[in-house]
């Protein structure tokens, strides 16, 4: 199974948000000439986007357009089989455009370089920008006959109360993936992170090349649970922790753990849960998936995130786009999709117990699945004010130099 390498960069690439302040939208000579109010959400400050008369949802009961339906997504982040299936059911061809990262998607969509109907993997911390720039349209939920299949906990997400502009697509946690047959001892308990600081894994450890994820790990290892800190002191503490890690285990910095763990190039690797689920497809022939392991911290310290689907305001085929979202909310289709991309759907029936019981996910990877409860209780990597974001980026740049 091929896999969306760049897709996993999304946190690193999309964390450039700013607080709820007016921001100049142009260059130096037009500073302050125009400003757009961004509504940055957090679980403590949920956001309900204001609807405007010049960006209304489509009417209910319209017939599908002739197509083709144009979709933008990360490479390999939707099962090709589903695109064929949608065509066989509706007679409409689906054209897929891919992008490398979320910022690129935002840039291409906002400049018109991408003329698509549906964005399948909207980064939730960029959603306020899509809404503020009026790039996405409100959803007409009467088209979503499968909407009830969504977990109750995701239907009213903090980043888009009422789900006015987005429908959750996948959900995942951040933890450590490992080959249980290659590690000295399985990672267990609350301090599994320590393994990445263990010199015995020097040269076979890996860290996500995402300044938000990697630095969040440094913060947590330094005993700081505010993974959206704006404090230079906290950042310095995280840097000090990560320097210790670099010295001890010399980790690879990339987002290829879903390949390197099953292949044995890295033994332990900071990883998104969807990657360890996808890793089963990269195991050498004859190697059983029982050798894969995943460790996550307790839910109070666990990072949880999700992607969402949104329809473009400029969509030429908005009814088809609604139909496709509804298609993806069908459990049968979601199962096909999850089998291909690895990442977990947020539909009922995709809970850990069910997936393990039916054999879709091996028991040793059950903790890679996110529960409805996790979705609301986990830590969230949120957009940062520009100054704080720069601080994080500079710190990560400095760490990367190996100086």
């Amino acid at each position: 199974m091929s896999h969306p390498m760049s897709r996993r960069r999304f946190l690193a690439l999309s964390a450039a948000g700013v607080s709820t302040v007016g921001l100049a939208a142009c260059g130096s000579r037009s500073k302050g000439a125009s400003s757009i109010e961004l509504q940055i959400a957090s679980p403590a400050k949920p956001v309900k986007f204001a609807l405007t008369s010049d960006n209304a949802a489509i009417k209910a009961g319209l017939s599908n357009e002739a197509g083709p339906l144009r979709i933008a997504n990360f490479a390999d982040y939707v099962a090709p089989e589903l695109l064929d299936k949608f065509k066989s059911e509706t007679g409409v061809t689906v054209e897929l455009s891919t992008f490398g990262d979320d910022v690129e998607a935002l840039s291409k969509i906002s400049t018109g370089a991408f003329k698509v109907d549906l964005l399948m993997s909207t980064a939730i911390d960029l959603l306020p920008k899509y809404v503020a720039l009026k790039l996405v349209q409100p959803l007409e939920k009467s088209y979503f006959t499968n909407y009830e299949n969504l977990w109750d906990s995701v239907r009213d997400p903090f980043y888009d109360l009422g789900g006015q502009f987005s429908v959750p697509y996948t959900v995942f946690s951040t933890g450590i993936g490992f080959r249980s047959d290659l590690v000295a001892a399985p990672l267990e308990g609350d301090s599994g992170w320590d393994a990445l600081w263990d010199p015995q894994y020097s040269g076979v450890a890996g860290l996500l090349d995402s300044y938000r994820e990697a630095m969040a790990l440094g913060l947590q290892h330094a005993g700081i649970d505010n993974i959206n800190t704006e404090s230079q002191t906290d950042i310095d503490a995280a840097v000090a922790e990560l320097r210790k890690m670099f010295k001890a285990s010399n980790p690879r910095l990339d987002v290829l753990g879903y390949q390197s763990i099953p292949e044995g190039t890295t033994t332990i690797n900071q990883l998104w849960s969807g990657d360890i689920l996808a890793a089963q497809g990269y195991l050498p022939e004859g190697t059983d998936s029982s050798v894969l392991g995943y460790w996550v911290p307790p839910i109070a310290k666990r990072v949880i995130n999700n992607d969402a689907m949104s329809i473009m305001r400029s969509a030429e085929h908005p009814v088809l786009a609604h139909a496709f979202i509804n298609f993806m909310l069908d459990p049968e289709n979601a199962k096909i999709n999850q089998a291909y991309i690895g990442y977990q759907s947020t539909l009922k029936g995709f809970e850990a117990e069910t997936l393990v019981a039916e054999g879709t996910i091996p028991e040793n990877l059950a903790n890679a699945l996110v529960t409805q409860d996790d979705f609301t209780k986990g830590l969230r990597i949120l957009a940062l004010p520009a100054a704080a974001d720069k601080m994080w980026q500079d710190a990560w740049s400095s760490l990367r130099t190996g100086a």
């Binding site: 939208a25 906002s110 020097s202 740049s397 130099t401």
Partner: protein, 279 residues
């Protein structure tokens, strides 16, 4: 002049416009500032400070070291090959020329990915190397030697061709004259072939060194460790993963300035050589 404008001045000015421009805070993309009156040098100064006094200086020095070693590797591997094909290959010359061009048909990325497989702990090359002294190691775990090897392997075809063209143009009668005057074949090489191929050798070094300096994917694929981070990796980081494309553009400008010095040295050398020829 039009050539210079199209392929040097315009791109260079565009990078400067990004480096000294702004960032769209909503779209997070660079907003180039084309009018120098409005250029903002704040970030550039910060980056310069990091390069001169701080952590980025380490990356520049490391990159320069890797490139020097890799170019030296290219000379060691590439010169004998180019020499053999141009002077000794005989009827096999055409076939060998095709073999030299063959690597161009396979993308650099694919060739590096092949080495990732070969150098994995279970890869047969890693297994083979493990029998050598100090060869039993994880070659993909942030080893500078692996990155330098990757650079040599990736760029040596670019080194061989221009050198071959120079060696091939050396008049064989000059070598015959040297031998007639009592020079051994080794002396003929050192006193005739090597001096006459100096310009081609320098051109080959420049042609390979320039892209090596900005290379980032060799390190990404064969190491990905902070211990082997190159300038290109930092540029890509700032351009693709952050909201500070100006920093990436500033690094490009600084790197270009350093390379201009090298290029200037090369051009002066060429100029001197041409003057000697026309005397």
């Amino acid at each position: 002049m039009a050539w210079m404008a199209l392929f040097f001045i315009v791109p260079f000015y565009s990078v400067a416009a990004v480096a000294f421009g702004q960032v769209d805070p909503i779209r997070q993309s660079a907003v180039p500032e084309w009018n120098p009156r409005y250029w903002d040098f704040t970030l550039f100064t910060d980056v310069m400070h990091r390069v001169v006094n701080g952590d980025l200086g380490t990356v520049f020095i490391r990159t320069a070291l890797y490139v020097v070693l890799a170019v030296a590797g290219c000379v060691v591997v590439g010169y004998p090959v180019a020499y053999f094909v141009s002077r000794e290959a005989g009827k096999w010359r055409a076939a060998l020329l095709v073999l030299m061009i063959l690597p161009y048909w396979v993308s650099y990325l694919m060739r590096m990915l092949a080495w990732v497989n070969l150098l994995q702990p279970q890869g047969w090359m890693a297994q083979l190397l493990s029998h050598l002294p100090a060869g039993n190691r994880n070659w993909l775990s942030g080893q500078p030697i692996t990155v330098v090897f990757g650079l040599v392997y990736g760029y040596v075809p670019f080194f061989i061709l221009p050198l071959y063209a120079t060696l091939d143009r050396i008049d064989g009668r000059l070598l015959e004259a040297a031998r007639d005057l009592g020079a051994t074949s080794r002396q003929a090489f050192w006193r005739v072939t090597l001096p006459l191929s100096r310009q081609g050798l320098m051109a080959a070094c420049v042609i390979t060194a320039l892209p090596m300096v900005g290379d980032y994917y060799t390190n990404n694929l064969l190491s990905a460790s902070p211990r082997t981070e190159m300038v290109g990796n930092q540029i890509v980081f700032f351009l693709q993963q952050t909201t500070q494309p100006q920093v990436g553009a500033s690094l490009v400008l600084m790197l270009s300035a350093a390379l201009l010095v090298v290029m200037a040295g090369y051009l002066v050398s060429v100029n001197r050589a041409q003057k000697l020829v026309t005397r």
